[in-house]
């Protein structure tokens, strides 16, 4: 468990964060630029000292201003992957990778993460003799990731590791991060302002805005919270559902995913039956019907019950529907709410086009 409850004040900026996340797990620290995510990560790393508060990792106190405890960053065993990679220019890739390993002391003796496995996991074999300035941006971030991993961290902090990369390079590095999450059980804290990355990587999310924590919890729960509307905007909110592939019709590019008690047809190919997957259903893509629909091209018509109707803005409402063990979010016009008389307890059919779903493998829960 990572417990953080700290304050830090600068001239203009007031940071007051308080959250608890389980370890191991991947927690995303999510929010707009300048909301205090990086400062929070620096506080956890020990690179910034809080004005007041307490930080505790797996029972060890790292910071406690009441008791004047402040473990120096170099003794925290917390790995850090910086946005700008920060490789040492006077060392080769191998030298960079070994820097933390050589200083891990007793933790390296029981080396849970060895040099060779990291090199092969991150595909660094061909780069070992190069200098940092001979690497591409994506390669640099992979080396930085390997360097942090080899210091045998108890927690790995990643501060927007993909932000300095273009879209193609991001797609090159993301699978390595997923592999890391799935093969090593190192707790990770991932800072991002891209919800796409959160969806791909995180089990838990801490949503920040203007130096405060707005919401926290498992990604699927937080995705339904009204606070997400403020951070993501009306077009990007939607339920995040974790499920298991029940059947595939790979030739048609769709798979049936068991979510709660229902089965959702999702455009997904190449994944086997039994694979855990995560699906996001954008609220704006979900249509509600008060009668069982017939003769539609829509692949999904799931029966459910309205649990909540809230005004989103003056002409739209957000409707939560329980589809049996899972909740989806639909954004409909105020006009439709009035005409269909949408209210809690009403039975509705949730219509989702398979092509408008976004799904990907997500083995951990």
């Amino acid at each position: 468990m990572l417990k953080v409850a700290v304050t830090k004040r600068w001239e203009e900026f007031d940071l007051q964060v308080r959250f608890q996340v389980p370890t191991p797990g991947v927690v995303a620290l999510f929010g707009r630029s300048g909301c205090g995510k990086s400062t929070t990560v620096n506080l956890v790393a020990g690179l910034v000292t809080p004005d007041s508060g307490r930080i505790e990792l797996d029972g060890q106190v790292l910071e406690d201003t009441d008791y004047r405890i402040s473990v120096p960053a170099e003794q925290r065993a917390i790995g850090y992957v910086f946005q700008d990679s920060r490789l040492f220019p006077h060392f080769s890739v191998a030298g960079n990778l070994r820097y933390g390993l050589e200083r891990a002391g007793a933790r390296a003796a029981s080396a849970s993460i060895g040099f060779e496995p990291v090199v092969s996991l991150l595909g660094l074999g061909g780069l070992l003799h190069r200098r940092p300035h001979q690497l591409s941006g994506g390669e640099r971030q992979r080396v930085s990731l390997g360097r942090a991993l080899l210091s045998q961290p108890r927690l790995l902090l990643l501060d927007e590791p993909l932000a300095s990369l273009d879209v193609a390079r991001r797609e090159e590095v993301l699978p390595y991060l997923e592999a890391l999450r799935d093969t090593l059980s190192i707790p990770m804290m991932y800072v991002s302002h891209q919800f796409e990355e959160v969806l791909r990587l995180a089990t838990h999310i801490v949503v920040m805005d203007a130096g405060k924590v707005l919401a926290q919890g498992p990604v699927s729960e937080v995705s339904l919270m009204p606070e997400m509307r403020a951070v993501l905007g009306a077009d990007a909110i939607g339920a995040v559902l974790d499920g298991v592939i029940e059947n595939t019709a790979d030739s048609r590019g769709i798979s049936g995913v068991r979510i709660g008690r229902g089965i959702l047809m999702v455009s997904l190919r190449g994944l086997a039956v039994g694979t855990r997957v995560r699906v996001q259903l954008l609220a704006r893509d979900i249509i509600l019907a008060i009668e069982p629909p017939r003769g539609l091209s829509v692949r999904n018509a799931l029966e459910g019950k309205v649990t909540e109707v809230t005004a989103d803005d003056h002409d739209a409402h957000l409707v939560k529907v329980d589809i049996g063990g899972a909740t989806v979010l639909s954004r409909v016009t105020a006009d439709a709410v009035a005409e269909l008389r949408l209210r809690p307890g009403l039975t509705v059919w949730v219509l989702v086009k398979a092509v408008s779903t976004r799904g990907h493998a997500f083995p951990v829960t």
Binding site: F88, P89, H90, Y99, S151
Partner: protein
């Protein structure tokens, strides 16, 4: 070389090299420390220290030599202490000439080292911290190697400048043949003596060649190291 220079001139060359090398060795460690303090330190007297370090650039060298004489002369507080504790005498010796030269070249060295420190990303040191490196470890493995271009450039420039230091040396260490009569002092002596035109010219040309070689070497070394760092 022996055909070109008289024995006295060769001795002046040897002394100049010795004094310049000694001055670099003497001033390098404090210059690294002061440069680090001026770049990274946050303390109240910083502007004052900065100005103090640069004083030899603007003071008459003779004044610097005179202050050294007051401090390190046989009757000066530091000079007496050194003599009583270690039997060391600085005034009118080669070591004294090196000290005077070191003080004069100190600002040049601090400037060069500071420049390279200012270009050093503190983020790299933060990264080293997260990888488990303590303060001394960080300084030795990250900070020092990365400021090496500046340290070497500073050392070579100070060496080249030290070959020609005149005012402070003649005031503090006098003009003793074989002890403190470096190239510039020998040159001055030659100009003052009748029939000294030829040796004076030879010594002037020698100074010119040494200075040029020193500056070229400094530039070449700095470029080489920068390239190895990929900049």
């Amino acid at each position: 070389m022996t055909d070109l220079l008289q024995p006295a001139e060769l001795e002046a060359l040897r002394l100049s090299l010795e004094v310049a090398a000694g001055s670099v060795l003497l001033s390098l460690p404090p210059a690294v420390g002061i440069a680090w303090l001026l770049t990274r330190g946050r303390f109240p007297g910083r502007p004052l220290l900065d100005a103090f370090v640069h004083l030899p650039l603007v003071l008459p060298p003779v004044a610097v030599g005179y202050v050294l004489l007051l401090l390190f002369g046989q009757r000066g507080p530091l000079g007496r202490w050194l003599h009583e504790q270690f039997g060391v005498q600085l005034a009118f010796t080669t070591a004294g000439a090196a000290l005077a030269t070191a003080v004069m070249a100190f600002p040049l060295m601090v400037r060069a080292i500071r420049l390279s420190l200012e270009h050093l990303d503190p983020g790299l040191e933060a990264a080293a911290r997260t990888l488990g490196a303590g303060p001394l470890d960080r300084f030795c493995t990250i900070t020092l190697p990365l400021m090496l271009p500046g340290v070497i450039a500073g050392a070579v420039t100070a060496f080249a400048a030290g070959l020609g230091e005149f005012g402070a040396v003649i005031t503090f260490a006098a003009n003793v043949p074989g002890q403190t009569r470096t190239i510039p002092l020998a040159l001055y002596t030659a100009i003052q003596s009748p029939g000294g035109d030829a040796p004076a010219l030879r010594l002037a040309v020698l100074s010119f060649v040494l200075g040029l070689a020193g500056l070229l070497l400094a530039e070449w070394l700095a470029r080489r190291i920068r390239r190895s760092l990929g900049r």
